[in-house]
């Protein structure tokens, strides 16, 4: 497994917040992707979009429930098309398979199109060790390979870099002049990589989908590097997670409608390449060998937990990253592993081990936006709560995330909440004590624990002058119409007196 730093989410996110260049890059990225996504959906119409989401979800749920059957069918049909399928239970095995295929065929140069699974395996480093030069060919991946970094976004791997940083990097590594022209930077990558496509004996791709019925690997790309990687070299290896399979060719249509719109707001990407086996006798060109490597690497653990299974529905569009207030502040690297953002916070703890990723289920405000934008309707907040539950209830002290202080605080809170008089006195006392540190109603740095631990990553609002109980008594206590049972028909939120005086 590659460098897993998931245990350091909170310290890493503090560093991210202090990293001016990263904050600038995140600011420039802004809400571009999400804005484009919303426009694309508006063009389709909300009702149709919801129908597509439901159809896609049902296809995924069905396929995962019968994953053994569909992988068997997929294997049969890849082999019928002249390809070979290899199964890898973990990262070490997956890397060994690719390395064995490469070295036994005398491969010296390999070109790669974007694959998150290969990042998960740290495949490039492994191949370099056995003497294979590997070139990432997606522009974003090429940039971070030059920089020796890992992707910070599922769709835009170099999102954390400003154009100034990219220009500086190309200047240092390739000796090209500094420029602020993004088109010129892209041209450098094209010129450098063009020769590599035709030198390489091996092309490695990921897969967005695998069609069981026809034994087809589907990749969805924009630059054309995916087509070149799977067309020019003599050997093509597709490497992907075992959950990517869908039953029939006709099931693909709905995913082609959902994925590009959710990822970049495009109604369709420039290229969709569907590959079924190696070149046939009658073909003019194309790879002579096709291998598909199906990777488990912890996915059976997600499959086995009914509460986490739906995380395998994910089609890696990145929409949940683009909308997440936490991701937008801390960027992808703080999450400590290949899968960032809300979906990363859900799957990483299971894939790398809960005790190694104790902070990640808490890397969310549970606002629910991720669930709303997910094209396959994954209920991410529910699963984050589930992970938190697992952590708090774990008998293993190494997994237990709840500190003694937190347990004591929780007990104190319970006891206060059940004694109204004590609660009232308590809140007045806390308000009084906290006021000297507040500015505009916000405490940025609390002086004493446990509040000081809270304010290391977040602001703490001062308790308001009037409590909810006070408001209830004053504004609603007299009017029995909106009774305490809350049985009134339609008191809309905007008319509620509580709402009006929330700044009180």
């Amino acid at each position: 497994m590659p460098q897993v730093k998931t245990q350091d989410f909170f310290p890493a996110s503090e560093l991210s917040m202090q990293n001016a260049q990263l904050q600038e890059a995140l600011k420039r990225a802004g809400t571009g992707f999400d804005g484009a996504r919303q426009e694309a959906i508006a063009e389709v119409g909300h009702d149709i979009w919801e129908e597509w989401r439901e159809e896609a979800r049902q296809i995924k749920v069905h396929t995962l429930e019968h994953l053994d059957y569909y992988l068997e069918l997929l294997t049969e049909n890849v082999e019928r098309a002249g390809g070979q399928v290899h199964f890898a239970k973990d990262a070490a095995q997956a890397n060994a398979i690719v390395a064995e295929l490469a070295t036994s065929r005398g491969v010296r140069v390999a070109v790669k199109s974007k694959s998150m699974v290969s990042e998960e395996l740290n495949l490039n480093e492994f191949l370099e060790q056995v003497g294979v030069e590997v070139y990432e060919t997606d522009l974003g991946e090429y940039i971070i390979q030059l920089a020796g970094e890992s992707p910070s976004h599922l769709v835009a791997p170099a999102l954390h870099k400003t154009k100034e940083e990219v220009s500086q990097l190309l200047h240092q590594k390739l000796g090209v002049p500094l420029t602020d022209d993004i088109e010129a930077m892209a041209r450098v990558a094209r010129d450098v990589l063009r020769d590599k496509f035709f030198q390489a004996e091996l092309g490695i791709s990921g897969a967005n989908f695998l069609v069981a019925e026809t034994g087809t690997l589907v990749i969805i790309t924009n630059e054309g590097n995916g087509r070149l990687c799977t067309s020019a070299p003599r050997i093509h290896i597709g490497i992907t997670g075992m959950e990517k399979v869908i039953p029939s060719l006709q099931d693909l249509a709905v995913f082609l409608r959902l994925l590009p719109r959710s990822a970049t707001g495009q109604p369709m990407t420039s290229y969709v390449s569907m590959i079924s086996g190696p070149r046939r006798d009658n073909d003019e060109d194309g790879p002579e060998e096709f291998h598909l490597v199906l990777v488990d690497n912890g996915r059976t653990r997600l499959l086995a937990d009914p509460d986490l299974r739906e995380s395998l529905n994910c089609i890696r569009c990145g929409a949940c990253l683009n909308i997440c207030p936490v991701y937008q502040k801390v960027g992808g690297h703080a999450y400590g592993w290949v899968y960032p953002g809300p979906i990363g916070a859900v799957i990483s703890p299971t894939l790398v081990g809960l005790k190694q990723a104790k902070d990640l289920p808490f890397a969310s405000s549970l606002c629910g936006a991720c669930r709303e934008v997910c094209p396959v309707k994954i209920n991410i907040p529910r699963m984050l709560l589930h992970q938190r539950h697992l952590l708090s209830e774990s008998p293993d002290p190494a997994e237990k995330s709840v500190t003694l202080t937190e347990s004591l605080l929780a007990r104190l809170f319970t006891s206060l909440m059940s004694r109204p008089a004590l609660l009232n006195t308590g809140r007045k006392l806390v308000r009084l004590l906290s006021r000297p540190w507040a500015r505009n109603g916000i405490i940025r740095r609390a002086p004493l624990p446990p509040a000081s631990r809270w304010t290391r990553q977040r602001d703490l609002p001062v308790l308001p002058q009037r409590s909810f109980r006070d408001l209830w008594k004053q504004e609603l206590g007299s009017s029995e119409g909106i009774s305490r049972t809350g049985a009134s028909d339609t008191p809309s939120a905007s008319e509620s007196p509580v709402n009006r005086s929330q700044d009180g």
Binding site: N77, A96, L159, T216, G224, D251, S276, D296
Partner: protein, 263 residues
Amino acid sequence: MVEHLGTPKAEFLASIRQALGRSAASPPVPPYPRLAESLADLEALERELRTRLETGRDARLEALAQTATQRGWNVKRAPNPEEALEYLSSVLTQLGVKRAVRSTEEVFQELAVDSTLHRPGIQMTIVARDETQPGETRPGETRSNKNHSGAALRQSMIDADIGITGADYAVAETGSVVVLPRAGLSRLVSLAPPVHLALVRPQDVVDTLDDLFLLRRLDYHRNGRDMGSYLNFITGPSRTADIEQTLVVGVHGPKEVHMVILG
């Protein structure tokens, strides 16, 4: 030679069954409704589709033209061959094309592209491994064949200023051209040169992705369950937004694409 590396399939699938809470020996599940469809079912759907495609052709071509334009194609609707060739000629002139490469497909028998390409200053390569193709080599024209080295053919595609292909299908919903493998069509003709021009026949235009996948499924089952080695959707020019989400057109594939609809 078939080799299986890694975990044996049976063991891998058994661990999945276990994760799903089923016994290792549980029989295959009843298939998914779509997979249960017989060839006769698919053929019934095909008849409906063909009937639909027989009507409203002009509206379909117009829808394709509009969507394709939005996706970044330069679209020309050419109701007669003269207009198509005139358009091709103007593209060649505008770009100052010196080297062109084209595939061998039925559409080139319907449209005398070679007479337009055959002009002074243009070196043309025809990808034509199939020696049964009619036509003789003219001056300035190279015809690849079984004796022609793969490397030389590949180089001519890398060096070309424009690649010209037909289209097996075009999809109005997405504004895409669909290309399938065949003798006489290198994967690189529509990919390696900086400009791609695709000739679309009206009878190959379908409305939706569902239409296309139905037809491909039928071909698959009629062809002894062979899909062919690839199916490529091409939807506009190559592009990226990997640096600061700023759109750059033309990365590893063509930066300029033309769709000529012959109708």
